[in-house]
Amino acid sequence: MIILIWIRKIYKSLSADAAPSAIAFALLFGLTLGFVPLLSGLGLLLIASLLVIRVQVSTALLALGVGKLLALAGLSMLFVPIGETLIESKPLHGFWTWFLNLPVIALLDLDTLAITGGAFLGLVIGGALFYPVCKMVAGYRRFVHDRLSQNKFFRWFTNFWLIKGLKFVFIGSGVEA
């Protein structure tokens, strides 16, 4: 049931009146969270931010799941080398010494190489996907609204009771494709 609710929310977030940038932000948050341990300082801050800041929670959860899967699939091997390159780089020693001792920042466990590496990778991937996701969401909406919903075959097909039932189960009522 949770998965069904989640699928419905994803569909609604894609089809509803949310700004594409909010969805892209959610992806950024979710991916970053997926690349750091949930119980680390940074992980807890991101979870709190998801609750408090207006980002698409369902999209963020999806991105979190994808991020964790990617990490398990081997992307996590890059976390330490990236973190090491960033933190152990001599010219940046002064910056990190100042930055990692700042109030609140010091609580984020960024001194752990893998966490800094993971967060950086999440930000880079999420940042790189930001604009394409905005465009993709807008494009999807245009396609569904302009093309698909006007398509005769689609209309005919979706009039079947089985399809209506499936649509109700996975998408829920009150949402028009």
């Binding site: 408090v52 398990l72 996590s76 091997m77 020693h93 590496g117 807008a138 006007q150």
Partner: protein
């Protein structure tokens, strides 16, 4: 206005062209926006929509982004008169504009203009009404609407108002205002939850948790508090009536097993440190702490059971307090070493299956930062009670104690200032008459700082104690606490100590802080040395015999140097003389010194008295001459120094 022209392109151009004449800027914008390809797209779209609507004769709406336009088309396959009626009956045109501008497609389109078309009529007699609302940068300079010809006066006003609102929204920043970034409902719920917990429930909850943790003794001790005030916002926490007992304490035997108690403990938390992931306390103040040290019949001490779940095992026959404390310290050291050995490498934080190594951390940013700092610890009205169950003499309690420690840290080498310590207190029953003075006063500086000046790094390693004791009972306190550990036993007497103990790196120096003043003084001492022992570098029995004979002795010319492992006693002549002569010569010399001093003082006093009476002084001088050696026999001239004859050299031993 309706038109009889069949071509939608012509209809469209007819609607746009009149706007050109109004403003040259508008004309330029129209040319830039409604380019031939855009017009062609628009016309094609109109044809598609009107064709399907005219087939079934039904009203139809459609939205589409035709860059740079957002186009909303409403197809009404009826004559224009009927369309006017429709708007009167079914709703206002302004509402239609609003609806178009509220769709997600419009919001995400980034269009330069909203183009609202109403297509009507038949294929033979079509009509077209058009509204163009320029958006974004263009929205300020050009007229925003080309009014639909079939609107009533009131309807047109409403439409202009709606269009103005759409333009205003399009001029606003793309990012929503910062206040709308947050889910205020969630923030409010969380604030209410935490606020309620903080104001109503946090203190009782903390008290309950502390007391339930301390009640069972699983934490290695029994402890309880009567009241908790977790002033986290002010950074000030207080604990009232704190009690600490050994793990074997039950409610009945709580008093018996009590180790420590305090009326109040107040901790000023260093919030800035806590936010920087450091344990920081600006001040810890303890009011009326009482430490109860009990030495059991088997020689173990109650403090040794704190932190341990198993009862202490005695290490042999009970000796003295010092030995018991040494045993305890040894066990603590062993435990720490065991724990260090048993410590496993931390696993990746909750990332089962992940291959990243979460144990690798950058350490250099925290090289010069302490992990824990307590800037000041203060304890007032401290009392240490001793309870000896071995049958040995029970030491008197130490009372009115004051402790102040500053700059305490886990990494003293990076602190700006050295650790300072000051302890003072009275021995119950032996208090000094002067209420401002204490039996024991200790000040200390522990300096382990690493000072860097340019490229020069100075590593300090200094431990300096200044210990002053007055009227310290040798038998009741020193003998009772460290009897078996000393090379002698005391029957009576008191000790005054004024020593500076200095350990700079490995170099040891113990001396009197002011040259010429006694390092320590013994008063009314009766002591016995252990057979074969040495005291201050002298044979124990000789030293004891000498001291017993003297009774009161000031040791001025003794200095201890060398290292802590190999101390070097540098005794002066007077101490050597004391021991060699078995005290007699020392007594004599001391007595001579006393008489000399008395004589000097007497002479001064007389001089002062006789200053205004020269005749009387002369008489006395004469009498002195006459009496001559008679006065010398008393041990020294009353009116002046007389050198004593050096003692005859001892006969040479063959």
């Amino acid at each position: 206005m309706s038109t009889q022209t069949a071509s939608p392109e012509k209809l469209l151009r007819d609607r746009i062209e009149p706007a050109r004449s109004k403003d040259p800027a508008l004309s330029e914008w129209i040319d830039r926006t409604f380019t031939p390809p855009v017009i062609a797209d628009l016309v094609r779209h109109c044809d598609e929509k009107s064709a399907s609507a005219r087939k079934d004769g039904k009203e139809r709406g459609s939205s589409k982004v035709l860059p740079p336009l957002f186009v909303q088309i409403l197809v009404l396959p009826v004559p224009i008169e009927k369309a006017r009626e429709r708007f009167v009956k079914k709703g206002k045109y302004a509402a239609l504009l609003d609806a178009a501008a509220s769709t997600w497609l419009f919001k995400g389109s980034g269009a330069a203009a909203l183009c609202h078309l109403i297509l009507g009529g038949t294929a033979e007699s079509p009509w077209l009404e058009l509204a163009v609302i320029p958006l974004g940068k263009a929205s300020k300079k050009v007229p925003f609407v080309l009014p639909a010809g079939f609107l009533t006066e009131d309807g047109e006003k409403r439409a202009r108002k709606a269009a103005l609102a759409i333009q205003k929204r399009s001029r606003a920043l793309k990012l929503p205002p910062p206040l709308s970034w947050f889910r205020w409902k969630v923030v409010t719920v969380l604030a209410v939850l935490f606020g309620g917990l903080y104001l109503l429930g946090l203190n009782p909850l903390a008290k309950h948790q502390i007391n339930s943790l301390g009640a069972g003794g699983e934490a290695g001790a029994h402890f309880s508090v009567a009241q908790v005030g977790l002033g986290l916002l002010e950074g000030r926490s207080s604990f009232d009536l704190f009690k600490l007992a050994t793990p074997k304490a039950s409610s009945a035997a709580e008093e018996k097993e009590r180790v420590a108690s305090a009326d109040e403990i107040v901790c000023d938390l260093g919030m800035n440190d806590l936010l920087r992931k450091r344990f920081g306390m600006d001040e810890v103040s303890i009011t009326k702490p009482i430490l109860r040290l009990e030495r059991r019949a088997d020689g173990t001490i109650n403090v040794g059971e704190i932190g341990s779940k198993e009862p202490q095992k005695p290490s042999g026959k009970p000796t003295d307090w010092v030995k018991s404390v040494e045993d305890w310290a040894k066990k603590i050291k062993e435990k720490i070493e065991e724990r260090k050995k048993g410590e496993k490498k931390p696993e990746a934080a909750g990332e089962k299956g992940a291959r990243a190594d979460y144990s690798r951390k950058a350490t250099y940013p925290f090289e010069n930062v302490p992990g824990a700092v307590v800037r000041k610890v203060m304890a007032r009205a401290l009392e240490i009670q001793f309870d000896d169950k071995t049958g040995a003499l029970n030491p008197p309690p130490l009372k009115n104690g004051t402790i102040e420690i500053t700059n305490l840290s886990d990494r003293p080498e990076v602190m700006a200032d050295p650790i300072k310590l000051s302890i003072s207190g009275d021995v119950a029953g032996w208090e000094l008459k002067d209420k401002d003075q204490r039996n024991i006063e200790i000040t200390a500086t522990l300096d382990f700082r690493k000072l860097t000046e340019g490229d020069v790094v100075t590593v300090k390693d200094l431990v300096q104690f200044n210990v002053t004791t007055k009227n310290l009972p040798l038998k009741q306190l020193v003998q009772a606490l460290a009897g078996d550990s000393l090379n002698s036993s005391f029957e009576k007497g008191t000790l005054d100590l004024n020593a500076e103990f200095r350990l700079d790196h490995d170099a040891l120096l113990v001396h009197a802080p002011v040259a010429g003043t006694p390092l320590f003084s013994l008063h009314g001492v009766e002591m016995k040395a252990k057979p074969g022992s040495t005291i201050l570098g002298f044979p124990g029995d000789l030293f004891a015999q000498a001291v017993n004979e003297v009774g009161d002795v000031d040791i001025t010319d003794l200095e201890i140097g060398g290292t802590l492992d190999k101390p070097e006693f540098r005794a002066g002549e007077s101490l050597k003389e004391l021991v060699k002569s078995g005290g007699k010569a020392f007594v004599k010399k001391q007595a001579q010194k006393g008489v000399d001093k008395l004589t000097e003082e007497g002479q001064k006093a007389l001089d002062k008295q006789f200053k205004d009476q020269p005749e009387l002084k002369k008489g006395i001088e004469d009498a002195k001459k006459n009496l001559g050696g008679a006065l010398d026999g008393l041990g020294g001239g009353l009116f002046g120094k007389k050198k004593t004859e050096p003692p005859p050299p001892p006969p040479e031993k063959k």
